[in-house]
């Protein structure tokens, strides 16, 4: 339907483009929408037919949304989780990038830490949570620590890969113009590794969110994870599901934010690849 409206809006300017767009809409979005509708309908009818009334189903979740998103408890939880994720990601970005850049360009540093990074990366965060809670207490600090632990290795490994594969031509130019080692690392290797850093950020953001929610579950500190836990334990399944939707929304929103930043701040990226 929106494909049609695009066609009508600019039939003279770009009829072919509009036609292609509506074709793409039909080809890619229609199957997606149909799949979603089928799943929701199946969920709705199965729950109606076989489950008790308090079990969440799409129709009641939708009805719960307006109530939940003005609920101060929910807003506070959302704010707490988002803030923790933002803080954790900030720390992760700075340290992960620096460690990754140096690791990618210094063979000895790479040798020194490579196996430890891979090892830590393979440890599930749920395993280290009890340890962290002993070190940092049942507090927001433990949540931050978990977020950093969950996210930082994705950044380090991606940035290190990017730094390792910086085109030799750039490095040659830097040497020819007598660039210092520091300026080569952060003025050249870092921007040249940007595509890898972005891939790392995407991974890290997802893991950071999971880390935050897992920590809230485990530690029972305020946040979206705890909100979901509390509501599902008190038979408020619909409310809990609004929290789940919110988490999914974070994921999609962050992806869109990263894409927008890429286009806005790095117009050369993608187009410069040819």
């Amino acid at each position: 339907m929106s494909g049609q409206s695009i066609g009508v809006a600019s039939p003279v300017v770009a009829p072919r483009k509009a036609k292609a767009a509506s074709g793409r809409l039909a080809d890619t979005y229609l199957p997606r929408v149909i799949t979603g509708v089928v799943i929701l309908l199946a969920w709705e009818f199965i729950v109606r037919a076989f489950a008790p009334a308090y079990v969440a189903k799409p129709s009641t979740i939708v009805l719960a949304i307006p109530r939940v998103i003005v609920d101060p408890a929910f807003l506070k939880a959302t704010g707490a989780t988002l803030l923790a994720v933002a803080e954790g990601l900030g720390v992760t970005l700075v340290f992960g990038t620096v460690i990754g850049v140096v690791m990618g360009r210094s063979l000895s540093f790479d040798r020194a830490i490579r196996h430890y990074i891979n090892g830590f990366n393979a440890i599930p965060m749920i395993i280290v949570l009890p340890l962290f809670s002993l070190w940092f207490g049942y507090s927001a600090n433990t949540r931050i620590a978990t977020i950093i632990f969950a996210a930082i290795f994705a950044i380090i490994m991606n940035v290190a890969d990017g730094a390792r594969t910086v085109p030799r031509e750039y490095l040659e130019v830097a040497r020819s113009f007598r660039a210092t080692r520091l300026s080569t690392l952060f003025g050249l290797v870092l921007p040249a590794s940007m595509p890898y850093l972005l891939a790392g950020i995407r991974l890290a953001a997802g893991r950071a969110l999971i880390g935050a929610v897992v920590a809230e579950f485990f530690l029972s500190i305020g946040g979206v994870g705890y909100y979901i836990l509390l509501n599902s334990r008190t038979y408020h399944h619909n409310e809990a599901f609004v929290g789940v939707l919110l988490l999914a929304g974070f994921g999609v929103g962050f992806e869109l934010l990263v894409n927008w930043c890429t286009r806005y701040f790095m117009p050369w990226y993608r187009r410069g690849q040819s």
């Binding site: 750039y170 830097a174 020819s176 113009f177 007598r178 050369w268």
Partner: protein, 277 residues
């Protein structure tokens, strides 16, 4: 190519007649890549206001030679002097223009041109004054905010040239700078380079595989040959300066081109049938 022949030609190699105080002095230069000897016994000078073109069959080590002179690669015999400085790593006052342009895709024209100055530690005011000046000099005025991906190969190399010129080097090293642009653009850029050099003459080494380009630009042409390669001949190009499009039509130009061609092609034909060992 036999050892004897190589030694004989090396002995015949004339030293440059560049006056008392050459800007670049290369003496007995030799270079190995592991077991492979790239070149040996390279001797030549470049005057402070002279363009020396280096031609040779592909794989003869022209580019390696240039990288040694820039200090990007270590040499393992002989010495390179630029002014009074012995080259072991890149030194100040020497700038290179690369075949691959070497522009940073995340920087605009202005930022790319400023790169050399920034690395040289120039004050901000100086950078802000000089960068537009050199952008204008290479004919890129109006494209200050363009990124490399938005520009043609010719424009990108103009930018690469401006970056090198901006540090006001007294030695310019040109590594097949126009090899990656199309024929028409190449011709335009050759005359642009001559114009710019006339405005700001420096010692210049111009590596190319185009004989015509070598004869058109060079005040002398060095022909590298053999495996390992050494200087086969240094040919004085006694064409009137500055070179223009008229130069291309002079009988003397054709003569000199033929002479370099004969020297090189004899060698190239031999080289084509040498088996890699």
């Amino acid at each position: 190519m036999t050892q004897q022949q190589t030694a004989a030609t090396a002995a015949r190699t004339p030293l440059a007649a560049t006056g008392a105080d050459p800007r670049i002095r290369v003496r007995g230069l030799g270079k190995h890549y592991g077991a492979l000897e790239v070149f040996r016994n390279i001797d030549f000078d470049v005057g402070a206001r002279e363009i020396v073109a280096i031609v040779g069959p592909s794989g003869c080590g022209k580019t390696t030679l240039l990288r040694c002179i820039d200090g990007l690669l270590p040499h393992d015999a002989g010495e390179i002097m630029v002014g009074n400085e012995r080259v072991t790593e890149p030194i100040a006052g020497v700038a290179m223009v690369f075949q691959h342009f070497g522009l940073f895709p995340w920087k605009t024209v202005t930022e790319n041109v400023a790169y050399g100055l920034r690395m040289a530690g120039a004050p901000k005011a100086e950078i802000e004054r000089k960068v537009p000046e050199f952008i204008k000099l290479v004919g890129l005025a109006g494209f200050e905010k363009a990124y490399p991906y938005q520009m043609s190969g010719g424009m990108q190399q103009r930018c690469g040239l401006a970056r090198a010129l901006a540090i006001e080097p007294n030695v310019l090293l040109m590594d097949e700078p126009f090899a990656a642009v199309d024929a028409q653009t190449r011709e335009i850029l050759q005359f642009e380079l001559i114009r710019i050099w006339e405005e700001r003459p420096t010692a210049m080494i111009f590596v190319t595989h185009s004989i015509e380009e070598a004869v058109l630009l060079g005040h002398r042409v060095i022909v590298l040959k053999g495996r390992p390669s050494s200087i086969h001949e240094i040919i004085e190009i006694d064409l009137p300066n500055p070179r223009t499009r008229e130069t291309l039509r002079l009988p003397r130009f054709a003569e000199l081109r033929e002479r370099v061609w004969n020297t090189l092609m004899r060698e190239a034909r031999e080289a084509e049938f040498i088996l890699e060992r």
